[in-house]
Each structure stands twice: as C-alpha cells, then as structure tokens.
Symmetry: D2
Subunit: 339 residues, 4 copies
C-alpha cells in the first residue's frame, strides 16, 4: 500500500500514519520528497483498509499494491480450474463449452422441441429460465417450480445437463436439486446474501458479470463464493452498460483474455444478452472464441416470435445450427473443439 500525503501536510500527520501501520505489524517506509511525503507499506496490506487510512488527517490518496482477492487469483493457483458437467470439461484448454436453450421455460412442448433439436446438434448443456428477473413487475416472471420440472424432464429425455438462474435464497435447494449448474444473474452479482449461500453448496455456479461492474468487483464476487467453500465457479461476460445505445449492451470481449490472466476460473461469453440483437450473435460468438473464451451461452427458441421473454434476441434451432457450424471453424483455428 502506498499513502500519499497532501502537499504541505505537517510531519506529525505522516508520523501518525507510520504508527498506525506499525499497529498492524506491517513495515512503513516514509519518503520525504520535495513536494510531498509518500509512505510505502511492506507486508500483506489486505489487513489494512484504504478507506480508513484515507480518513487520517493529511492524507491525499491511498493506493493498493496487491489485488484485493486471493482465492480466485492466478497467483494463488497457477493451474486452470476445469469443471466437468455432463462430460463437458469447462475450462479445459481444448474445449469450448456450448450452452443453449430458450430464455424462459414456457411449456413441455416448447422444451421438447428445442431439446430434440439441440440434442441432434450435440449440445450437452441446456439453458432455460424458470425464475426470471424482469425490469418491470408486470412482465412474465417465469413458471417457477413447474418450469424447473419441465426443464429437468426434457433434459433427461435428451441426455442434457441443466443450467438455470436462481434469484432467491429460498429457492436454492430446489434449484440445486433440479439443475446441474446454478446461474447468478447480472442483477444479483452483488447480492451478497445469495453469493454466500451458493458458496455453501458444491454444484457449479455460473456467475454473470454485473452490467456495470468492473472486472475487479466481478472477481471479488466470485471470491465470496470460493471463500464460503464452493470452488466451482464459471465466470460469464454478458455485456456491460455504456453510452452506446445501438446495442443493448457492449460485450466486453477483452474481459475474456484479461480475466484469464488474473484468475484460474473458466470464463465464457453470453452474446445474446451482450448484444441484444440477433444479427450480432454469430460474429460476437466467433470473436469470443477467437479471444479464448472457454464457452458460450446462447438463447435458442423454437419460435422466437411467440417467446414470453427476450423474443427479439433469441434465435431458432436452425439459425443456431448455422452459427455452430461457423463457430467450429474458429474453434479449430485456436486448437479447440466445441462440446
């Protein structure tokens, strides 16, 4: 940690900081420059609080040297985390994991139709929403437990694993009983009560990036899950909110290689929500694979026009088949296979 004192701050102020640092059994190194004094701290600064030091008189700014997360960090664990679900090794250096399915589970027929088609395309991981976080209270909120059952049965009939979102702490047990991967959505990335609870189970958790969260905050949210005991976290970049309004979000492809430098966790992309525009889904999936993504999750609906949510951004099984074909070539170019 580096503490920068204000220009002209009296020496006593710096001395008080020095004392404070020593209280924490860390070594302060004060440097008295011409314009201002700077105090460096040697030792594990994670015990010190930036905010607290900034409250001391004479302090202008405090800068961290170490990353604030530990368990998710590549410095802590060098080898990549690989999470195997239904035979798909998510995070493996040769694998691009494919997850597909409708935004919302709507009916037995809908799920049967989409699963039978996805199965033919070799898809092993089925997505679908039973509990839906909707911006307005009057929008369709999902079928709930019934939706979970429908999805589970459809997945079982077609040899697929299930990934679905959990919104409410009270639903965790039920969702964990029916699903193979639990999703924490973008609006809940900093719902710490929920993060702590999914940290107490062992099922894999897919943690979407908050649409306005920095990569550091995202990794800290993952740290909550690991710190509570669950090491099986898959990160998912799903688009951030920017000033651009031609797309629903800006899919931050650069988050893929950057997160892979910082963390050992797998990172996949969600081009459906990341763009909100059908025509951009295929090029952005290709971009993500080329940049090293460990997988992708795409909304596929047998009849998007009749979908009960996110109709404008879901593609048909036929369109998805084309996408898959075109993406396989990119996967090969980076020595991977879509599973």
């Amino acid at each position: 940690m580096i503490i920068i004192m204000r220009a002209g701050a009296p020496k006593a102020h710096a001395e008080r900081i020095v004392q404070e640092i020593e209280t924490f059994k860390l070594t302060p190194v004060p440097m008295f420059g011409v314009e201002r004094t700077v105090i460096a701290v040697i030792g594990d600064e994670r015990n010190l609080s930036i905010n607290q030091l900034e409250a001391f008189p004479g302090v202008e700014k405090v800068m961290r040297v170490l990353k604030p997360y530990k368990l998710v960090s590549r410095e802590t664990k060098k080898e990549k985390t690989v999470i195997t679900v239904n035979g798909v090794k998510i995070g493996h250096e040769k694998v691009v994991a494919a997850m597909a399915g409708p935004c919302s589970v709507e009916s037995e027929e809908q799920m049967e139709e989409v699963c039978s088609k996805l199965q033919k395309l070799g898809i092993k991981l089925l997505r679908g929403g039973a509990y839906k976080p909707r911006t307005g209270p009057y929008s369709f909120q999902g079928l709930g437990p019934e939706g979970l059952d429908i999805m589970r049965r459809a997945a079982d009939r077609h040899g697929m694993a299930v990934i679905t979102e959990v919104l409410d702490i009270r639903d965790i047990d039920e969702v964990a009983a029916k699903a193979d991967i639990l999703q924490i959505g973008t609006r809940n990335m900093q719902n710490y009560a929920l993060l702590k609870e999914v940290g107490k189970i062992q099922k894999p958790i897919m943690l979407k990036r908050g649409m306005n969260s920095t990569i550091e905050e995202w990794l800290l949210a993952a740290e909550y899950i690991l710190a509570n005991g669950n090491p099986n976290v898959i990160l998912c970049e799903r688009g951030i909110r920017t000033f651009e309004d031609a797309t629903r979000n800006t899919l931050a492809i650069d988050a893929v290689p950057l997160v892979k430098e910082l963390s050992h966790l797998p990172v996949i992309i969600d081009p459906t929500h990341g763009t909100g525009k059908k025509s951009l889904i295929e090029p952005m999936t290709k971009a993500g694979i080329a940049a090293g993504a460990d997988g992708f999750i795409i909304e596929v609906h047998p009849n998007p026009e009749a979908a009960l949510s996110d109709a404008q951004q879901q593609i048909t099984p036929k369109e998805f088949a084309t996408l898959l074909k075109n993406c396989k070539v990119i996967a090969q170019a980076v020595n991977k296979e879509i599973k």
Copy 2:
C-alpha cells in the same frame, strides 16, 4: 407503441404485425411511407411486449409511447406522497428531511456519542448499518442483530427514528421490528425477490438508485414495491457510475427534479456515497436542496479515522453541525425548513 419496419420489408410482414396487434384488442394504424412502413398502435400498449414484436420478421425497431410504470407515476396520482416518520413529513413541500448517523453500527458507546450529538442538532432520523454489503468478503460485514439492538436502544434514548439497510429476505421481519424505515441499497435495487417482500409490509422503504440504473429502471423497481402493496417508498439518488474517477460516483442532481416530474414519490439525496469525498459533501448537499430534494442522508461518525467502514467519507458531528447551518440558509431560500 410504434413499430418501424425495415426498408424494403414485404407488405405481408406488416400485415402479420397488424394481425398480432388486433389479437390484443388494440388498434393498429399502418402508414406506408416512401422508404418504409410504420405501424402505430392505439390503446394501452402495456399489454404488448416490445421484445416480442421485435422478433417478428421485417421489424427494425419498436418504440414505446407510454411509460412502463403506472403506480409510481405522477400521471396516475397527481398529489405528492408524504411519508411521516417521527414527526418528519418526508415529501412535504416545506420540508427537507435530514437523516444522519454512522456508516456501520460499531458499539453502544459509538452510537450513544453520535446520537447525543445529533439530538442536540435536532436530528430526528438516525441512520446506521447493521448488515453491510461489502465488495469483498474479507471486509467487516456489520454487527447484524446485535447492531440492530444497539441502534434501536440509542435511538430510543434520544427520541430518534431508525433507518437501516436490509440485505436478505430472511432478515426483513427482524429489521422491520427494530427499524422505522427499511433501506434497499444500490446493489439490491434489482433484487426483485427482496423488492417483492418489502412490498408486503407497510413500513416505509427507502429505495436507493442502482449505481448503474436508469431513472426508468429505478421507478420500475419502486413499482415492484407499490404493486406488492406498500405505497410508502422514498427514492434516494446516491450517485451513478461514470467514466470519471476523481470521485467515487457522480451524484446525479438532475435526477431530483426529473423524478419529481415523473413520480409523486419523495426523492432525497445521499451526498456521502454520491461523492465519496468529505470536502464535496457540503456543496453537494446544498446543490441537492437547491434543486428541490425532499431530504438528505449523510454519514456522521464520532471518530471517522477509526470507523470500520467507509472511513474516508464520514464526517464528524462538528463538521455536520457546520454543514447543517450552511444548508439551512439554502433551504430557506427555497422556502423549506430542514427537519
């Protein structure tokens, strides 16, 4: 609702939209222009989904005409909502409500000290955190139930009402039993499970704006609470996230007059989190009052340097007294009184 078809879309596409609209008992008005067809919809479009219509072939864009919220809207209820807590009429045209207290409840002594000083300044509404949402899992997470008790006792000794944050559905009953106003924090603004549950009680809810949320999304979050039965919502602008890094957030003062045009709910400001910088708290409080805010909430700590959270942005009771004195002049200038 206005549906804009793509240039060159066949007439059949427009006709299909027309049929769809009629299904909802609304009146479509197709207009065939030179470059493209536009279809207007007459009737209450809230039953129609933009996303669904955008999924139809030939559609380029769908634009809403009506606001998506209803209960919180000034068009629905012309007179302002006034919520009285401990004698303070929050939302009243002559009142600026003052809420103050430490970021976190830390001890009986801390609360006694701050309350005795706030009481002398005439403050009726005490803030303090018992459950704390922290970006990292290793930061102090609040005293929990014990903190609630400490705060309640301190408030009672000094004739103050309590406002405190609730993070977890399971804590609502306990928090509602001890507090007079429940706060939903910025990270939980779209935690719909939580919004629905606080909609089922009648205690006033202070809903902070999501740091990444538009004003429309904020009003829709409030709509969740009202739609579940609780009309007592106070909105709180607490700063949005922008590219600027010289401050912790950008306090969007313009949200105050804008929300007052759109909604009948009271709207207050939080200059502490909105700036993250002690020296900006007073000028921004003045700015908020001048722009019409119904109140403000400020972090005051007897000894900020020793605070267990947000140390750098809490002010002392003495600094708060000066702020209060200077803000009273502004309140008078807009014909209000700080209560």
Copy 3:
C-alpha cells in the same frame, strides 16, 4: 512515482528500473516485499513517462504521485484567478456571472429582441453562436462572419460583451476582433492545435469540458492554453455522457467544488446543454450556484420554436427572467450576487 513489479519478477528487472530512474537524476527507493517489489521515486516525476516505465520487463503497474498539470493548479497559484469582462468579475468570491443569449445568431431582429430584453434584466454578457458545430453535415452551420457582426452590433447597442465559439484556427483573429470571450466547445476540448493558438492571444477563453473527459484531462487542456501564454481561462462544466438517456447529458455539479479545490481558475456551469430539457434548467442552475459555481451560461431565444438549432432546450426571455429572480435568492444564500 511508484513502480510495482510483477510477483516473481527477477531482481535484475528491478535493478534495470533503478538505473533508468537514476538517468533522470531522480532518487529510486526499491522496497523488496514478500509478494513483490515496489520502487518509489523521489523528485519531480513529471520528467518521467508512466508509459515508458510500463514498457520495461517485469513492471506490472506505474502510479503517479504528483498531478500532471502545473500552471492551472491551486498548489502553484493559491489565489483565485478573477477575469473581468464588461465590469463582471468572473471568479470573484462574491459574484455569480450570468451569460445568456440564443444558441445561434439568426438575424438582426432576433438579436435586437433578445438583447433589449436581456439588458433590462441587467445581463452584461451575451452568448450566441456564429459558427456552430453540428453532429450532422446537413444541419444549420451558423451564419459565420455575418453572425459575428450582427451579434457585435446588438451587443454594442445594449452595452453587452460577447462570448462566442471558435471552431477553426483560421477564424481566431476574426472572432477575437469581434468577441470579448472566445469559447472552445466540448467537441474541441482536445483539439490541441486550436488550444495552442488561443493560448497565443490574451482574450479570455471559456473552455468547456469534453462530454467524455475526466476532470484531469480538462485541466490538462486548460494547461495547454496557459502554457502557451494565455492565463485567462474560464472553465465550463456542460454535462458528461453517461448511460442515462432521460436527459441529454448528466450535469456533473460535483465538478464545480472539485475543480475549485484543484485549480485557481473560475468554473461556471451550462445547464442548457447539461440537461437538454427546459424544465431542468432552473433547478440545475440553482444547484450549481449553491455548489459554488462562478457563473452560468443559458440559452435564451425570443421564440424557441422557430430557433434554427437546439430549439427544445432554449427558454424565452420571460422564462429566463423568472429563473433569474429565483436564482438570486440562492446566490444571496451563498453570499454572492448575480452580475
């Protein structure tokens, strides 16, 4: 400057940095921590380039300690800069400078009408655009030299000074001959060729903040003008671009007190462009004055509906008179007078 080495970087890498720093006659202080090495630099780091040091092997991050600007800094010049134009002391602690006039100069009649009304309200500083920066090439681009002449004559008839934008280096002489303050617009804040040239004259320059520029970049743009010889710079906060789309921009009121801490230059606000919405102009002007702004600039048009640019955000002289009356009370509350 603080240089943070990567975890595990060999000692030779740190030694190379140490040598490099010594080349610049600065004192390096290397600290070998448990996880990584940190090197502090004592001396005026402005000669060192962050980018260059970041290119050295083993370097993770370089952090600046000193501010990158000097002439505009409050640390360099303690007393506030006051710029007097037509008797109005812009930047004086007792003064709120009022600038008003139409977006575009359109005709002799329009300017006569607006000036005669502004004069009655005591306005001394007339704004008006002769050269207009328009997003699209097909929009009205301003009357050019003729517009300058019309505005000058109208101002002279009514004892007013002129502030107008200059877009093109080739127009500086002409604009400087006719205007009393030259405005650099938000889109040209980083047009360094233009900044250098207006730095070579002595007329006051009003430098608008780039709509996506940080406060540091804004002060560096002002530094360009001062470094070229012109100390007469007025800063103008005019709204930044954020994700919110309910307003044209988000007027960052917090920039007013923050810039006044960092710099000695006067800072005013532009609530017209900052909000893009008539109904928000008055509350935001009040907010700015309450927060300490040295002035404001507002678009006033005798007949906004017929305006050739920015029609939706210009107010009438009558509306401006009301605004002025209401703002005077706020100015008094902060011990200032609107001039």
Copy 4:
C-alpha cells in the same frame, strides 16, 4: 418521425404541430389515443428538426424513423466500398488489411529498422505519427515535417505506403503530399473544420471513432467527409471509454459487424489503443478478424522501452511476427487473407 404529445395536452397543440408539418410538404397522421395523442409524419423527415418540434408546446418527445445519414448508408449504396492502397484492397470480402508501425516517428534509424522487419513480414501499410495529439502540453508532440520526411523515405525504401495522422487544417497539404492515407484521430472525430477539409481531397481518410462517440455520431462524422466530396473513408474502431479501468479503453468489437450492416464503408480495428495492454493485443486482433473486420492497425516499435510515446502498448517486430502468424489462421477460418 413520430411526435408524442403530453398526456392532457389540448387539441390545439396537436393541430399546431399538424400545420407545422404541412409547411414542410410532409403528411401528418394524428392519432388520438386514450391517454395521449401521437402524430406520425409520412415523407422524408430529414428536413424536419427533432429539436425544433420538441420546442412546441404540448410535445413530450419526438422520435426519428429514418437514419440521419445518407451517403454512408448501406441503404443508399448496397455494394461495399473497396479502397486500394499499395495493392491492398481494404474492404474486399477476402482481405484483412494489416497496418503496422511505431506510435511516433523518432529517427531515421528507428524507421529503417522497423520497416525492414515489417517488409520481411509482408506488410504493405506503414503507420507512424509525425504530429501527435498528447493529453498534456509537456509530452513529446512529434517530429512534425521532419518526421513525415523520415517516414516517407523509409516507406519508399521498403515498398510501403504511409498512413499518418493530421491534426491541424494547416498541415493537410503537406501530409497529403507525403502520406497515402490520412488519419483523423479519436479526439478530432468531431472537429468539423478538419472533416470538411479532408473531404475536399481524394486521398483515403481513416476516421477513428471518437472514444465517447456513438456509432451514429461516427457515421455522421464520415458523412461530413463524403458530403464534401471524398468517398474514400475507412472507419476504425479504437475502443470506447467505459467505467472499466483495468484497460485503457473497451474495444467495441460489436461495432465491426454492426457498422457493416449500416454502412458500405470498410471498418478496421485498433487493438493497441483499444486495450492499452500488450498482452491483450493478440487476442483482440483475433476477435476482430473473427467478427469480420476489414483490417487492423497495430503499434510496432523496434525497442518499445525507449519509445517516446505509448511505450507500454507497443510490441516488438518479433512479437508482431507471432501475432501475424496466429491471426492468419483466424483469417483463413473466415475465408480471408491478411495482406
């Protein structure tokens, strides 16, 4: 254009709008709904100003139906624009154009070294800065005319074409005499004086996206160049400014496929400035190619640590050779060749 009246606006207000529209020889279609009146306009709305209509009493909002640009639009010109420079067909469906070279031209030796290495890699398009736009006035501002000469000679010796930035209208002739492509930088994207002047020559112009500009504003900036007579515009996505601070900018890969839908102009990416981080350059170049970019521009310096600008983000010729090799595989996967 669609005009939405306020709820409760008197009929006379709508009638006045109807009259105004008829003045422009367009056909108004008023629709009187239950809650509010909506007026659609049939005909080429580009003659109407949104701002002007929004200034009329009773108007709540005006929405455009047509795009505001014309010449750059794919609706105007179906076939893609291909611009051939030094034998490289920029914008051709089978080509990924490669541009490389140092941030700044520093010396004859530096340029000779980099060119001889780039030539061996088959690079035909040399980038290099002679005039540099720097955030601060004390940074290296480029060698100017001498830099142009050095770069031209080096390019000629190695059979390369030159692309370089022009900052100042007064330099256009000289830069056009020495360079094959003129670059307009991100800070000048809305420097309309400069756009108009480069519109009057015929040399290809590479127009970088403003770091804070929407895609629509970018296309309107290109429209300025085309409207002034120069159809040879190459668009370059170079990263936008977002809240994320782990990278210098967020390279908006989605802009590539989106712009190709909207416009016939070639669009390339700049992963160097788009990320500001060496390790992200290769993955983001791959991502851009996979998403359909017509080319890329990358900063290559023989000795980045000694570079006079942007040292931290320039790669060595050796690193560039590896990047090129890895990107070729991606190009092949999308049926293209890097030229």
